[in-house]
């Protein structure tokens, strides 16, 4: 109560508020429906997103396993998949149209449903209120709507997998005319319609979430939580949400015009097209216009996927190196720079669409600039680790794994960003290898690291560490075994999304390599079930978590082990320092909670901080 005396009215008010919440949840727990299903508690919503994300990740991974069997072992008799795939297996062979549909759905599911909803939805929801010191999101109701829009979207997308003509099959980028004409592929009919409706709902969900995140971070911070005292996780979620607010509406308008082209007969994207010798009525549309609109979302989207993972990593690496994050403000600056740049590089996905080479060189220049803030982040991670008292928790290992993928995948980004080289590499497996490392695996590792690190806060229990280590090493080695060889097939020129390697003489020599990649992919996928088992087992049977298992500074570890709705019992703690006071010289312990005032740590205060104490003392004396 000591710091409340400055404004007694507010102090009493917050206390009363806190007390209300406490009462609510001590005496009336609510029904199962309001507590676990239609909950407005950000922590429950976060878990809903997480479990939905895990569900989708298993589906997305299963799809990739099936098409990797096709690519690696083209002569396999796939009849054993008949119980699941039914008519899509014809005479022991995978139907080529369905292969395209699986590739499309794998991309859509992983990018949007796992790494956008599963990652941002889980950790922005869970950590923002807990780390800034708020009782809940700005609007719990909109937050709940956000999940249920996502759920509706998921149901439609899932149903589209099981319709007779198959799901959308024009690639996750759904370029027209493939996506616009039902004649183009079986999946471009009903499957594509369902894809578009599902994505429209998904965009609504994402916008509701993002608006809530930004509004909460700016307006609901506890006393003393200035912007420069925010953990880097929050900075990352904050900018991710801003990117979402600015870019998802653009996908919505692109999708809207596509819907008009598909079902009303307009010609936004369709120009003179002949099918079986007959001209379609559409004239004068521009397929390139769709690409511009799509990639104006599509490129920022990869940062929507990556930035939260980078934020999570910043926090976990600092905690487990027992050192302040190196270059806190440079980290914020580079997130800001990446956010800004993400909006002005979209055309590097379109170098080979016949764009003006001069325009191409501008986009190339802007693209290569991204290497600078990215390198700042990579170096800062490494320098944070440098000479730290590193604690190798599973979360820490996955974070270091992220840094590794971020570097090895980022380097090929510098290669691909060059418009001249892109003529050779465009739409080859080199691109597949690049983005699976830097965006797919890196973000996935960030997400898993976050689960290992914050599981104790989510469920009050610890995940099994041994299983975590096995999971890490199998996945880390597996990911490199899968994606490193793909660089070679890519440079050799093999195009992505093709059904078969074996029908071309030039690629026959890659048969063994592909068998190796497929084996590694299947082993890696199977290893994920260690995690799934660990996750669900530990929710019920895991070792009970202490209050602050990682000895971290941030506010979430000051809440009760199983926080109720409202997070803190009684008053919300105030914040006096930044979140990275680890191993501060002269301090009693190697971490100082954000809630510890400078006057309580006289032995470790730095010069400026001593002044701070004295100044406040003087102003006190005056008053």
């Amino acid at each position: 109560m000591a710091n409340l005396d400055h404004n007694p009215a507010i102090a009493v008010d917050t206390h009363a508020h806190g007390h209300d919440h406490h009462d609510d949840h001590d005496h009336e727990e609510g029904t199962f429906l309001t507590k676990y299903i239609f909950s407005e508690d950000h922590k429950v919503i976060a878990k809903q997103f997480l479990i939905s994300g895990i569900f989708w990740a298993i589906i997305g991974g299963t799809l990739s396993t099936i098409f990797r069997i096709q690519l690696g072992f083209p002569n396999t008799d796939m009849s054993f998949l008949k119980p699941i795939l039914g008519g899509w297996i014809e005479g022991g062979k995978l139907n080529p149209e369905f292969y395209l549909a699986m590739v499309t759905m794998h991309g859509t599911i992983m990018v949007f449903f796992v790494l956008t909803a599963g990652l941002s939805g889980t950790f922005s929801n869970f950590l923002i209120p807990l780390q800034i010191g708020a009782r809940d999101m700005a609007s719990g109701f909109l937050n709940m709507l956000s999940y249920w829009f996502f759920f509706a979207s998921s149901v439609i997308m899932l149903c589209s997998l099981f319709i007779e003509t198959g799901p959308a099959s024009g690639g996750w980028v759904i370029y027209p005319p493939l996506s616009a004409l039902p004649q183009a592929a079986p999946g471009s009919g009903t499957g594509m319609t369902m894809w578009l409706f599902a994505m429209a709902l998904f965009i609504v969900s994402s916008l509701l979430g993002s608006i809530n995140y930004v509004s909460t971070v700016i307006n609901m911070r506890t006393k003393g939580m200035t912007f420069t005292r925010l953990p880097l996780t929050i900075w990352a979620f904050f900018f991710t949400a801003i990117i979402g607010i600015l870019s998802f509406p653009v996908l919505l308008s692109a999708a809207l015009l596509l819907m008009f082209d598909r079902s009303m007969g307009t010609s936004f994207y369709l120009s003179e097209i002949y099918i079986n010798g007959e001209a379609l009525p559409n004239v004068g549309g521009s397929a390139i216009l769709f690409q511009h609109l799509f990639w104006f979302l599509g490129h920022p989207e990869v940062y929507i996927v990556l930035l939260p993972a980078l934020g999570i990593t910043s926090e976990i690496i600092a905690v487990n190196s027992r050192k302040p994050i190196f270059g806190y403000k440079a980290m914020i600056g580079s997130i800001m720079a990446i956010t800004l740049l993400s909006f002005i590089v979209w055309a590097h996905h379109m170098f080979v669409t016949g764009m003006n080479p001069f325009l191409g060189s501008i986009f190339m220049f802007l693209t290569l600039i991204i290497a600078i803030p990215s390198a700042v982040k990579a170096f800062n991670y490494i320098t944070t680790l440098w000479r730290g008292n590193i604690v190798f928790t599973p979360g820490m290992l996955f974070s270091i794994g992220l840094v590794s993928f971020f570097i090895s995948g980022g380097l090929t980004g510098v290669v691909l960003g060059n418009s001249a080289i892109d003529i050779q590499l465009h739409d080859t497996y080199f691109v597949v290898a690049h983005f699976h490392l830097v965006m797919g695996s890196a973000s996935f590792f960030g997400m898993v690291a976050g689960v290992y690190h914050w599981f104790p806060k989510m469920f009050g229990r610890m995940l099994n560490e041994k299983l975590g280590y096995i999971h890490f090493w199998m996945t880390f080695i597996g990911v490199y075994c899968v994606f490193f060889p793909l660089h070679y097939t890519g440079i050799a020129g093999f195009p992505r999304r093709y059904y078969s390697f074996t029908s071309y003489d030039a690629f026959k020599t890659f048969g063994d390599l592909n068998a190796f990649v497929s084996t590694a992919a299947i082993v890696t996928f199977v290893a994920q079930f260690l995690f799934v088992f660990n996750f669900f087992y530990s929710i019920f049977r895991g070792r009970r978590a202490p209050m602050n298992p990682w000895r971290a500074n941030t506010l979430e570890w000051t809440t009760p082990i199983n926080p109720g709705h409202g997070n803190w019992v009684g008053e919300i703690p105030h914040v006096y320092r930044w979140p990275y006071d680890y191993s501060k010289p002269g301090a009693e312990e190697d971490f100082i909670l954000q809630t510890t005032p400078f006057s309580a740590t006289l032995s470790s205060n730095l010069e400026g901080e001593v002044d701070l104490v004295e100044e406040t003392n003087a102003s006190k004396a005056h008053a």
Binding site: N7, S215, M225, F260, S267, L289, L293, V613, A623
Partner: protein, 199 residues
Amino acid sequence: MSSYKSPMVEQESDVAQPTLGMNPKKFSMWLFLLSVVMIFASLTSGYIVRKSEGNWVDFELPPIFWVTTIILVLSSVTHHIAFYQAKKDNLDQVKGWMIITSLLGIGFLVTQFYAWVYLVGINVYFVGNNVAGSFLYVLTGLHALHLISAIIFVLIITVKTFQFKVHSKNILGIELSTTYWHFLDALWIYLFAFLLFFH
């Protein structure tokens, strides 16, 4: 500020400053408007990109757009008067001006519809001929869709006024409604100016 002394002297020397912040709901409204801006920004820039590729049929904009613009600007004024009266607790005035606002909003939609009738009259259709016409229908249609949501919002606030739930101590709802309405007004003026300039 206070003469109260805590027994824990050393903690007294630290002051956790309150953080800056506005009403989260108001802030969320502005973020929502930002995403609407992005929808129309992408559509109008798509319009420019598509127009620059040629094969673009020019036609006269419906002259009735000038009338619809005046109606919408007027409605913005009446909505603001309602907000102003709500701050002064003149609830009867609020009710009156809010009803006038929603009627003007409906009037705007009806006159926009007549603009479409005019377009059909000069053989500019949503489907079938040049995409220049389709763009006009999409832009006006999407704006109208948003305006319908704003009218519903105004009607909800009007009902709340009749229930004495809108007054100077409970101003947020009508303030958000005013912001949204002004925004859609400004958005229409932007779209109209854009179409005048680029059609």
